[in-house]
């Protein structure tokens, strides 16, 4: 009798594990057309930094980063409440609609200078919503009432009582949900407020898209397909892609780089660096262009790249802590992200005319034929797996000097943060 009881207890414990369903599961997403505040500020920040960091230039985005830091923009797709369960009006106070949690509070700022998307009233358009982690659910899109003042905190009563668009489980493709919707009959400045309430979880997502409604003929013409991407600066974890630009009757606003159906990078220019890759692995990338009306181009042809291995997983951080009229001090940090040590390292980068090396420390630096080569000193000639090496130098200059855009470590390209 004891044995069956013991088995019953084990079975019951296993059953308890299996039926533990109260915990939340987490997804991610945000409106990308018309772009949400976090998405467009993220794009602005990427463009302002030239890639690799976020340095927004739009005044509202700058103010948001000053208040909330850069993380809400790195996580532009995570404006959510985990346990909303449809209680949006109950748990989100007036003034907090655009950023209902502390992390995204900065995106509630009542300002008139958020990035805006131009829309045509009454037009039928394709709404697009990022889907990093797809889940079933219902999307509701509200628009603000006539007379709405964007310089005042957004209240629930500012929204039209009925969503102008509502859809359950819209089509998913290329890493996005997209569906056709008829825009409301509005004019001038408004906010489109999007709610995504998942049906398999109490989690809900929120986004404010600043828009300007005008008249005119809707843009239904997509951009031409981008040219075939060309890979360069291949490291163990990243690759730079450049491609011939698309053309569009109103202008291309964004390129998306896809690996399979997943968007792995976005860019406002015809160049992007894909990061977070595994070393010694083959990847195929393609590019799609979109315009301000949300029309997507045909896909470019794919390019297949194999990431580097071993010492290829390096990152070089180049900083100039001090500059003066006619010279500068540079510090260089090499991070070996691979699982192998780099022996007798040599770092090479462009050293254009107009610069002259005057002094180096923690390494031996030589300049020839427009290239600088740094070698480790006796005590830091090797870089352990996961380790770093640092050195610095002083240089004199004539005229403007730009920072290096590429480094190779023992012949293999390194990533630049």
């Amino acid at each position: 009798m004891r044995k069956p009881i013991a088995l019953l207890a084990i079975a019951a414990a296993v059953g308890a594990l299996l039926v533990q369903t109260s915990a939340p599961a987490l997804a991610h997403g945000s409106m990308v057309w018309p772009g949400s505040r976090t998405y467009l500020c993220y794009q602005d920040g990427r463009a302002g930094s030239g890639g690799g960091d976020l340095q927004p230039t739009n005044p509202a985005c700058v103010a948001a980063v000053a208040q909330g830091g850069k993380q809400p923009l790195w996580d532009w797709y995570g404006n959510l409440i985990s346990n909303a369960a449809g209680r949006h009006r109950e748990i989100i106070p007036d003034g907090d609609l655009c950023g209902p949690t502390t992390k995204y509070d900065a995106y509630n700022q009542p300002r008139a200078d958020w990035p805006v998307t131009q829309l045509t009233a009454n037009a039928t358009v394709t709404l697009r919503y990022n889907a990093w982690a797809p889940h079933p659910g219902t999307w509701e899109q509200y628009v603000t009432k006539d007379g709405f003042d964007v310089t005042k905190p957004l209240k629930w009563s500012d929204l039209e009582p009925v969503p102008f668009d509502k859809i359950t489980n819209p089509p998913l493709g290329n890493g996005e949900y997209s569906w056709q919707a008829r825009l409301p009959n509005k004019s001038g400045r408004h906010i489109i407020y999007s709610l995504w309430q998942r049906s398999d979880s109490p989690e809900a997502f929120y986004s404010c898209s600043d828009v300007v409604f005008g008249g005119g003929v809707p843009d239904t013409q997509p951009p031409t397909a981008p040219g075939t991407p060309v890979a360069s600066s291949v490291t163990g974890s990243s690759v730079r892609l450049d491609w011939p630009a698309s053309s569009d009757n109103f202008g291309v606003t964004e390129y998306k780089v896809y690996r399979g159906d997943q968007v792995v990078a976005t860019s406002a220019t015809n160049s992007a660096t894909v990061r977070g890759l595994s070393s010694n692995t083959e990847y195929t990338f393609r590019v799609v262009a979109t315009d301000s009306a949300g029309n997507a181009s045909p896909s470019s042809a794919g390019v297949t790249v194999r990431t580097g291995s071993g010492p290829g997983a390096c990152t070089v951080t180049y900083t100039k802590p001090s500059t003066w009229n006619g010279g500068f001090t540079a510090n260089v940090k090499i991070a070996n992200g691979s699982s192998e040590a780099v022996r007798a390292w040599e770092l090479v980068w462009d050293f254009p005319a107009g610069q002259r090396l005057s002094q180096a420390w923690s390494s031996t630096v030589t300049v020839a034929d427009g290239k600088a080569t740094a070698k480790g000193a006796s005590w830091n000639a090797d870089i352990a797996a996961g380790g770093t090496a640092e050195f610095g130098f002083n240089a004199t200059t004539t005229g403007a000097v730009t920072d290096p855009v590429g480094f190779t470590l023992n012949g293999v390209s390194c990533a630049i943060p």
């Binding site: 599961a25 990061r275 977070g276 991070a335």
Partner: protein, 150 residues
């Protein structure tokens, strides 16, 4: 008896899968590098680890003030979709600190972190199988809630 045996076998398999998915825990003594190494081991991601940057620039002054006293070390790594996934080595007391800030009206809702033993991560997507938990807080109490995968 056959039903019980079948349940036992099925349960053992489920347990084995769950344990295998959770993987080993990070070594807190190894700090941010230990968390990154653990994430890399169990997900194959979390590359390009950065340390020594300004946490307030990352999290903003409000959350930096609340979280800062309880962070022994922090860094970021790349783990898609996160271009900057924060890895925080924690000192004790963050829960009380968050509740106090919540009571003062400085923050609202729950901490935007997922927690392991002695550490926290600033994102959750793609980490549903790692045994991490969310912290749901009111001004009087917080509860650790396991993250479920659908």
């Amino acid at each position: 008896m056959r039903v019980l045996l079948a349940l036992f076998v099925a349960g053992s398999v489920v347990c084995a899968v769950l344990v295998a998915r959770a993987g080993p825990a990070p070594d807190p003594a190894k700090g941010v590098d230990g968390i990154a190494a653990w994430l890399n081991q169990v997900t194959g991601e979390c590359t390009d680890v950065r340390k020594g940057e300004d946490f307030a620039e990352f999290a903003g002054p409000v959350r930096a003030k609340v979280y800062g006293p309880y962070i022994a070390e922090w860094g970021t790594c790349v783990k898609p979709p996160y271009e900057r996934l924060g890895l925080l080595v924690l000192r004790p007391g963050l829960e009380e600190g968050w509740r106090a800030a919540q009571a003062r009206g400085e923050v609202r809702g729950d901490p935007d972190l997922v927690f392991g033993d002695g550490f926290a991560i600033t994102g959750s997507t793609g980490m549903e199988h790692l045994g991490l938990k969310r912290l749901e807080c009111t001004p009087t109490a917080c509860s650790l809630i396991p993250i479920k995968h659908h």
